[in-house]
């Protein structure tokens, strides 16, 4: 059984009332109905249940004997939560976890309800909740988690949040809403997080990279924070990993990168192709195999490992779980179709999109690409971020780039973006719908090759539905990987 002690004061749902039972019943019924209609809704069940029993989240959360962990931040929260869940399960915990990116407050409620029995009890003893930055204060206040992980703060969905300062304030008020004895895990390489703990009484754990990486070609764009959060002087960077993440210090005041507790010191590739990471956990070395690609996935691994360490999870469980890690929902997820490999890489902001482009350009051979851009609320209704993505890099790959297929509600905006990036308009193919986009892209991808699909959030759901109808992949409400 788990190695962490039971959190005091957690009961096993003794104070259940008719209201809570009703909330769960309403939620489960609606979830069942939306599933029958073929659209696995993750919003409506939670929304309705919250109306019925506003404290349903705190009620369900109290049933978790070992409490819950909350993961937030702009990028990487899905993968980090996914890795952390893997580690905790490996360590013997019964873990409840919100999948398929349903991370607004009602999404968190929906997933707890769907995990709960009709008797409103949770067959789990620990929770890992991925939470949107905007919903973080509410969820932290209701769930009273044992710990919170914040991955980073980037420019994302500014139409919804106004400006980046606002996101920072949300994160701060979420951290302030944590119980006094809880811990927080923060990315030391992100200057917008390093200043946040302030005078909180709980323990703060920092993680960061300390290794040599090839210089970031994209580093001059999409960097949101360049000035010191204390005195606003321009920060000096000794090293930039990507966007504004790196080793920074303020030349004017005493603000600088905090000394991390968990550090990645080396990444190498073994003969069998497996990537091996060398970490230092509070000074002690740890070596582990890790199959996920991309610099951003290094940060995700560090965040999950640091949180697991804060929970006193044994090292064997950490190494075993990371070695078996699979991509989470839409994060470089792989499918096979008619002899081609399809790689689905969700894009939602410039930093994430640049990292996906960087990862696919590091490969050899032809680049086959399908980009699908929607502008619904879940995607962000403002698509101007496309202009902050370095599609110019694609254009510079010349002959290697096969014709690019674009689709989605804003397909033409995407086509214009590619044209202005320097790609020949004759090599930009606009498809009317998901089905045509997939068929056209498959036609352009020879068997044995990889087709990269870069969709926004709701465009990914459209594509998955279409792929499901073509017999590829599992229904999306079943989540992915270890679902």
């Amino acid at each position: 059984m788990p190695h962490a002690e039971t959190v005091a004061g957690r009961d096993s749902g003794k104070s259940r009332s008719l209201k809570h039972l009703g909330g769960v019943w309403v939620g489960k019924t609606i979830a069942g109905l939306t599933r029958i209609t073929g659209r696995g809704g993750t919003t409506l069940p939670g929304r309705t249940a919250l109306k019925f029993a506003p404290d349903i989240l705190s009620y369900l959360g109290r049933q978790l004997a070992h409490g819950s962990l909350v993961v937030t931040g702009t990028n990487g929260k899905t993968t980090t939560a996914h890795l952390l869940t893997g580690i905790l399960r490996e360590a013997g915990y019964l873990c409840v976890h919100n999948q398929s990116g349903s991370n607004l407050s009602w999404g968190v409620v929906s997933s707890l309800i769907s995990a709960s029995t009709w008797g409103a009890s949770l067959p789990a003893n620990i929770g890992v909740m991925e939470v949107d930055e905007g919903a973080f204060p509410f969820v932290a206040g209701e769930l009273q988690p044992r710990g919170a992980v914040v991955t980073n703060i980037y420019r994302d969905q500014l139409d919804r949040f106004g400006e980046i300062d606002y996101i920072q304030k949300k994160i701060k008020s979420g951290l302030d809403a944590l119980p006094a004895e809880s811990f927080q895990v923060l990315n030391a390489d992100d200057p917008s997080l390093a200043g946040l703990p302030g005078d909180r009484s709980g323990t703060t754990w920092y993680y960061g990279l300390e290794l040599e990486l090839p210089p970031d070609r994209f580093q001059n764009t999409a960097r949101d924070i360049k000035s010191c959060p204390r005195c606003h002087h321009r920060l000096h960077y000794d090293r930039v990993y990507f966007a504004h993440l790196g080793h920074y210090r303020c030349p004017r005041c005493d603000f600088s990168r905090p000394e991390p507790d968990v550090v990645l010191v080396d990444r190498s590739v073994r003969e069998d192709g497996q990537t091996v990471l060398k970490l230092r956990l509070q000074g002690d070395p740890l070596e582990l195999a890790y199959p996920l690609l991309g610099t951003y996935n290094l940060y995700n691994a560090l965040a999950a490992v640091t949180c697991a360490r804060a929970l006193n999870v044994p090292l064997e469980a950490i190494t075993a779980a990371l070695a078996a890690a699979t991509p989470s929902f839409g994060r470089m997820e792989r499918f096979t179709m008619e002899g081609r490999t399809l790689v689905m890489a969700l894009v939602k902001n410039p930093v994430g999109a640049n990292e996906v482009l960087r990862t696919l350009m590091e490969r050899r051979g032809q680049i086959h690409l399908l980009i699908a851009i929607n502008d619904k609320i879940a995607d962000g209704t403002d698509i101007s971020w496309l202009w902050d993505v370095d599609f110019e890099q694609l254009a510079s790959s010349g002959e290697r780039l096969a014709p690019v297929v674009v689709s989605g509600q804003r397909a033409w905006d995407m086509a214009v973006r590619l044209k202005y990036a320097g790609i020949d308009p004759g090599s930009i193919i606009t498809a009317e719908n998901s089905r045509q986009a997939i068929l056209r892209a498959l036609e352009l991808t020879p068997p044995g090759e990889i087709l990269f699909i870069m969709p926004t959030y709701t465009a990914m759901f459209d594509l998955r539905r279409t792929l499901n109808a073509m017999g590829v992949g599992r229904p999306y409400w079943e989540g992915s990987a270890n679902g």
Binding site: D159, E163, D165, T381, W387, Q409, D413, K419, Y420
Partner: protein
């Protein structure tokens, strides 16, 4: 042979909502027209050479960054105004547009002076005006539409010596009341439109390039470029706002 100098103010600091797309559009189209150009990035502390600058672009920034620009430009106000009077081309988006006015009144009632280049003032509003926007602009005869995305809390009111850039067909515009959007004075254009603005409205890109050539009495024959893709994107953006679902969909935040 004609040649123009495009100055990009604080590319690292004034780049909210993909505004660098405007610089990409200006440079690409100048290239496709065969018009030689120099792109000069201006960083904080650099001096803009107003004797060389033909076209100045100022993107939107967050509050702090906007204040920094205000501080730097205030000292050069005389030179800037002089260039504007002579016909220098200036495109200012969102926060930079507000900065060109007389003042900005914050929600606490504090009045922050602007550069006073454009006859307008801005007041902070309670609710942000966010969403797709379409306007009709009489910069051209017959008028042409401009499509973009607005995201601002400030309400801007125009004085008598500037003209609006467009009339709002869909969206909020300067203040959500008088149906005006943006402002034009000589060759200065201020607007709330992000998107980025220029790529989807190529006629405005060409308008700015033409004015920049004419500013120093140069001659250049612009080509007729294939802009079917840009036109499709423009039409799709306009069409989107006509959908009966659109208002419902975008009014939720």
């Amino acid at each position: 042979m004609a040649e123009i100098n495009i100055y990009h103010l604080y590319p690292e600091h004034l780049n909210l909502y993909g505004d660098r797309g405007n610089i990409i559009a200006l440079c690409r189209r100048a290239g496709w027209h065969g018009l030689p150009f120099n792109l000069v990035p201006v960083h904080p502390g650099d001096r803009i050479d107003f004797t060389r600058c033909d076209l100045l672009f100022m993107g939107g920034g967050q509050d702090y960054e906007q204040k920094m620009v205000a501080g730097d430009l205030k000292e050069r106000r005389g030179e800037l105004l002089d260039a504007v009077e002579k016909g220098m081309v200036l495109l200012a988006i969102c926060g930079s547009y507000q900065l060109l006015g007389h003042y900005y009144t914050t929600s606490q009632g504090e009045r922050i002076p602007g550069l006073g280049i454009l006859d307008l003032y801005t007041e902070a509003g309670r609710k942000r005006m966010i969403g797709n926007i379409v306007t009709r602009s009489t910069l051209w005869d017959p008028p042409r539409t401009l499509a973009g995305f607005e995201n601002h809390a400030g309400r801007t009111y125009l004085g008598s010596s500037v003209k609006p850039l467009g009339e709002v067909i869909y969206g909020h515009g300067n203040n959500g009341e008088d149906k005006t959007e943006g402002a034009v004075y000589n060759n200065v254009i201020g607007t709330y439109l992000h998107g980025a603005l220029l790529p989807k409205n190529p006629w405005l890109t060409d308008y700015l390039l033409q004015k920049a050539v004419a500013y120093r009495n140069q001659q250049f024959a612009f080509k007729t470029l294939d802009e079917s893709m840009e036109l499709q994107a423009h039409r799709a953006a306009v069409q989107l706002t006509r959908s009966p679902w659109h208002k419902l969909r975008s009014s939720r935040f």
